[in-house]
């Protein structure tokens, strides 16, 4: 089974604690072993190799310190771009690619069009992490919710459901706030996402079939090879059939998921407006200290507008839930 594994530098970012800037190799190895021991064992990698790979990465926030035994992490004191990116991640409540981050920053006029992707703080700031084999970036503070989601779906014997519904379910049924938890759509073979539909693989079935295979008596190599060929063809056919069914299901589900999309968007917008109102409260205090009454009047007018929109959105949610 393919599983979610952080990239070497992301693993290091995760094991460095807040405020730590350097660690001894030994301590780092111990932490990696304690935190990612099982994954590293499956990949036949040692913590020392992970450290070396992280150091060798083209853009890395880690380097060897004054002595070979010390690993240091570069940590910018206050990076406005990084802070803006954290806001984007929290707003989108999910992973983003470096390209998406660049576009958002350009749209907000925070960076120029010549700003190169490899300068983005995603690579060096410890608040951002990435999984191996994926272009998507995540916030390091997010806990991966895939295990819990999988257990929940397996218990309920749900074989497939739209991604939007899964995200709603995460928040409302599993009580996993999307500020703290994230569903990782790539690299988890138990939960495959095809055209917005999440397919749940039955792990028990896979295990059972594995057991049966072990019971088959040993035969000649030739017979075994033929059997393996047939098996792999059957598996490929099964996967193809499953994917075809998934695509058909996805089309059917699209209609249902439109309402869910509307609901999610309405809730997201409400959250954004409420966030803005809170921000405005601080801005008002600043203007008050500067005795700038006209700016305060503008903010009050903006707040009234925000509140009117929130009321309208509440009506939308009510209408969808009817």
């Amino acid at each position: 089974m393919s599983e979610l594994v952080y990239t070497p530098s992301s693993m290091l970012k995760k094991v460095f604690r807040t405020g730590e800037r350097s660690l001894s190799r030994q301590e780092l190895e111990n932490r990696l072993q304690n935190t990612y021991g099982t994954s590293l064992q499956r990949m036949n990698q040692s913590p020392a190799q992970v450290i070396d790979e992280a150091l060798a990465e083209e853009i890395s926030s880690f380097h060897v310190g004054a002595s070979h035994a010390v690993i240091e992490m570069e940590a910018p004191f206050r990076d406005l771009i990084a802070e803006e990116l954290v806001r984007y991640f929290l707003e989108s409540k999910g992973p983003l690619t470096a390209e998406q981050c660049l576009k958002k920053l350009r749209r907000q006029n925070i960076i120029s069009y010549s700003y190169a992707e490899n300068k983005l703080p995603l690579y060096k700031d410890s608040r951002f992490v990435q999984f191996t084999g994926s272009d998507l970036w995540y916030l390091a503070r997010w806990e991966v919710a895939n295990d819990r989601v999988y257990r929940f779906l397996a218990n309920k014997q749900i074989k497939q459901l739209p991604l939007t519904q899964l995200l709603l379910m995460m928040e409302h049924e599993l009580n996993l706030s999307r500020r703290d938890y994230v569903f990782v759509p790539e690299g988890d073979s138990r939960l495959r996402v095809i055209e917005g539909l999440v397919l749940v693989d039955d792990e028990d079935e896979a295990k059972n079939s594995g057991d049966k295979e072990e019971k088959v008596p040993l035969q000649t190599e030739e017979v075994q090879a033929t059997a393996l060929d047939q098996e792999s063809t059957a598996i490929t056919e099964n996967i193809q059939r499953e994917e075809e069914v998934a695509v058909t299901m996805a089309n059917d589900m699209k209609t249902v998921s439109v309402f869910e999309d509307v609901l999610v968007n309405a809730q997201d917008s409400t959250e954004k407006l409420e966030q803005r109102i809170k921000e405005m409260e601080e801005e008002v205090l600043e203007h008050f200290k500067g005795n700038n009454m006209s700016a305060i009047s503008t903010l009050v007018a903006e707040k009234e507008k925000c509140e009117a929109i929130v009321v309208a959105l509440e009506k939308v949610v009510e209408a969808v839930n009817k």
């Binding site: 409260e281 008002v284 205090l285 008050f288 009454m293 305060i296 009050v300």
Partner: protein, 93 residues
């Protein structure tokens, strides 16, 4: 001024005045909290009233601080020259 009326020792009067100034500063902070409340109720008039009140308080604080600095300095200089006030203070204490 009634706050310092019964205080005969001059240095106590200055201390007391400083306490009053601190209290006024606290009032300025409370006003800022009230602004938050007014904003939550979209009450621009209330904020304008609080802004005037804050200006008044800040003016009072500045005036009182300069008063304290000026007269305390004057007292210290006079006291250093004559020693007359010090003697009086010891009697009071």
């Amino acid at each position: 001024m009634e706050a310092i009326e019964k205080l005969d020792a001059l240095h106590r009067r200055f201390e007391r005045l400083r306490q009053v100034v601190d209290h006024k500063r606290l009032q300025v902070q409370w006003i800022e909290e009230e602004v938050r409340m007014c904003f939550q109720q979209n009450n621009v008039q209330g904020i304008a009233k609080l802004a005037r009140e804050r200006e008044h308080l800040l003016g009072w604080i500045t005036a009182m601080e300069s008063f304290i600095v000026k007269w305390e300095q004057y007292w210290r200089e006079y006291d250093a020259v004559s020693g007359w006030f010090s003697a009086g203070l010891h009697v009071q204490e």
